[in-house]
Symmetry: C2
Subunit: 186 residues, 2 copies
Amino acid sequence: MPRVGLTSNDVVTSAAGLADEIGFQGVTMGLLADRLGVRPPSLYKHVDGLADVQHQLATLAMTEVGDVIRDAVQGLAGRDALAALLTALRGYVTAHPGRYMATTGAELTGPDDPLLAASNRVIDSIAAVLRGYGIAETQMTHAIRTIRSTMHGFATLEASRGFQWDTDPDESFEWMIGFIDRGLRG
Amino acid sequence: MPRVGLTSNDVVTSAAGLADEIGFQGVTMGLLADRLGVRPPSLYKHVDGLADVQHQLATLAMTEVGDVIRDAVQGLAGRDALAALLTALRGYVTAHPGRYMATTGAELTGPDDPLLAASNRVIDSIAAVLRGYGIAETQMTHAIRTIRSTMHGFATLEASRGFQWDTDPDESFEWMIGFIDRGLRG
DNA sequence: ATCCTTGGCTAATTAAATTAGCTTTAAAGC
DNA sequence: GCTTTAAAGCTAATTTAATTAGCCAAGGAT
């Protein structure tokens, strides 16, 4: 039994790759173990079971989303910033559908859950974009929630092939950016 | 073995109740059988397995959403219609979280999938509201997708406790209605 | 009254997560 | 370099759930 030298991080990273390839639901301890060259019980030396893997995967994905969004928005303002924000999320979901699915439906385990910190970083980027529009602080929470809902809704609907018909989703996406942009200028 | 007289519909209806009580993920053939006073294998005389139950549940939920929305929007126009539309969906998700979860992630099995027809009825109601705003037909698809994304995103985020902080989601919801309403008058 | 389809059952199989308990590696301390 | 020992793997066993096979009775149709 040659030691593989796994870490908790290896397991989660591997789960992320698996999720993107075969879907979040398809991630099982068995497949994960296969991919890591190990037997399923061995994984329990590094993670706390499947639920733990799923939760850590959600945290990883939310962290990556935060990074991608922060980078995309850097130095931009107004419509450019808004478009960059939405495009970055959409791109992430397209590139990493399984990872993103992990974030939908993940519940917070408590006030010190790292998933909460990761979510807050995403929210901070949204807030930064909104400040560029001069949104009053009293309305900030509402505006953040509205933008977040729209981003998230579009991403999940598109990812689950919710858009039928032959109208190009790209065009709808552009239209949506324009719609929000106009709304934020009021 | 007294005959229970189950139908396919009974099974799905029971699954819907169970999903709302314990969550969509919690619905198993075993619990379903218990609730119907029958052994798990007997269910296979009426449905095609768990995946079939889940898909039929999604169809039921989408149909109910369509009904609820259509009724809510009846006779209204403009902001009233928009508010009624969004409020009706939000109310449905609150009242039937498990059912609604079934619709997220349900894949269409083909062009004659009844789930597609049910989805189209929802879209028709959205389109009716938008026509009241005088949206051009060329933009209709984009507008529908935008509204749908926002509705769906808000509903799913709220349902999974995605809104932290103490700001009342009700207020954010009202703000969002106003935001979309203004945008649609452009 | 008899047929025969249907709906329910038990028993068995498969798949997956998880737990218990054993063994070996390899790093740390002497 | 040798010994100790915690960590990382493993096999075997348990549990839970879905599903399939095949049996049997209920109860409507003839």
